[in-house]
């Protein structure tokens, strides 16, 4: 029988619990019964590849998707997608979406009375290169109010969706900005018990990727589950 290796499970506290009452929407949507532990099978160690999908090079520059330039502070967000052992996730799809500089999403559900920007969609995607590198040019998103509790405001964030090599490595997360005064009060950011794990969602201001007279650079590395070292043997 061939040796079979799954992917590692998260260390306790480093991933959020489903039920986190301060985040009110979790109360009626979090499962109430315990999850059933599933040893990984071929179905979980395989996953979709997008490397033959048509990728528009303009899709990674959110400031060039219209004739005019969006308002706001232009930024460069770059990083690597790696696994827990430092192996790059090559040619994997990253999708991003975000509010505009005024804190408004181009989405019909968003009723915040901040202005839409006719030159900003707020969405992009790219494939990582062979070393797992990615780079987006965008504008810094604004904070925005939501109705979770009285006077609730989301800190500025960019949503990231990443696939990695397998169904088991699928991840959707949010990237935050250093020094954001709203972070200690945000129930979504704070849903992860482990403080270090939580703080890794905050990007780092980075001189190396800051471009003179052009844009500030922020680094955000994304780590996906690593491969089990012990194979499952019959």
């Amino acid at each position: 029988m061939a040796k079979f290796r799954g992917y590692r499970r998260a260390d306790p506290g480093t991933q959020p619990d489903y039920l986190h009452p301060p985040y009110v929407s979790s109360i009626k949507r979090a499962p109430s019964k315990p999850l059933v532990y599933l040893p990984h099978t071929l179905s979980e160690v395989t996953g979709p590849s997008f490397d033959s999908s048509p990728i528009d090079v303009k899709a990674s520059d959110l400031t060039r998707q219209h004739h005019g330039e969006p308002l706001g502070e232009r930024i460069i967000v770059s990083g690597r997608v790696l696994d827990e052992d430092g192996r790059p996730a090559a040619h994997t799809l990253i999708e991003v979406w975000q509010a505009n500089a005024a804190g408004r999403y181009r989405h019909n559900v968003d009723q915040h009375n901040a202005p839409l920007d006719p030159n900003f969609e707020g969405s992009g995607h790219t494939l990582t290169d062979e070393h797992g590198n990615f780079r987006f040019i965008t504008i810094r998103p604004g904070a925005y109010p939501w109705r979770n509790h009285y006077n609730a405001w989301r800190p500025a964030h960019i949503h990231f969706s990443v696939f990695g090599p397998a169904f088991a490595t699928r991840l959707i997360t949010q990237m935050y900005f250093p020094g954001d005064a709203l972070l200690p009060f945000d129930p979504i950011f704070n849903c992860t018990a482990d403080e270090k794990a939580r703080n890794r969602l905050i990007s780092l201001f980075d001189w190396e990727t800051t471009v003179c007279e052009q844009a500030l650079g922020y680094k955000f590395d994304i780590i996906l589950s690593g491969r089990d070292s012990t194979p499952w043997e019959k």
């Binding site: 009626k28 590849s49 995607h125 991840l171």
Partner: protein, 204 residues
């Protein structure tokens, strides 16, 4: 081992603008062989209210039980390939218009979703047995800090009784993973996030 995996965060209510480009509600195609099926369902919260802001992603093997992924070839053919050979093999298969296996559909105002695909073949389990035909599913919604992982199995499928994953589930809850026949090629499979008939979700 060095780093720890990045913590998950909710997909939120506005994922449409980021994820719509790769919505895939029809996995069939001219070059895809197999029994065409349509799966429809709804997602409900703990109050029985429809979830209008969810997205369902699916991943499945082709009708012969092969995933469009290098490790599927290694496992199923029991051939030793290095990464480059496996990749060439995959590109060859994709070039022939073979089955991709990925689906992504948002839920509608009434919590409903539907997609068209083919019934997958059986794939091996780590213990060497063959799994019953199934589709791996991720559920993302506002309110869920992490995706929920579940599976869709098929009705009238004798191999369900010996399936590696179904056997891990208590007998009284297995029905939540098995689609119901509507008529013809149409199947119904709902997602109950909480409650008496709460769908079985896996720690994956």
């Amino acid at each position: 081992m060095g780093a720890q995996a990045t913590t998950s965060q909710t997909v939120g209510p506005f994922f449409q603008i980021g994820l719509a480009r790769f919505y895939v509600d029809d996995l069939t195609g001219r070059a895809v062989t197999g029994e065409t099926i349509e799966i429809e369902g709804r997602v409900f919260d703990g109050d029985g209210q429809p979830v209008p802001d969810g997205v369902i992603e699916t991943w499945q093997a082709d009708a012969q039980g092969k995933y469009a992924h290098p490790e599927s070839s290694e496992e199923q053919d029991n051939i030793q390939r290095n990464d480059t050979q496996a990749k060439e093999h995959m590109q060859g298969r994709r070039g022939q218009g073979s089955f991709w296996g990925f689906g992504r559909v948002p839920t509608q105002a009434d919590g409903s979703f539907r997609f068209k695909t083919i019934k997958p073949g059986r794939v091996t389990a780590p213990d060497g047995t063959l799994q019953a035909p199934h589709i791996a599913v991720s559920v993302f919604t506002r309110g869920l800090m992490r995706r929920l992982v579940t599976r869709i199995y098929f009705p009238d499928e004798p191999s369900n009784a010996e399936d590696f994953a179904l056997k891990l589930v208590e007998a009284g809850r297995r029905h939540t993973l098995i689609a119901k026949k509507v008529r013809g090629s149409r199947l119904e499979w709902n997602v109950m996030l909480q409650g008496k008939d709460e769908t079985v979700f896996f720690d994956c």
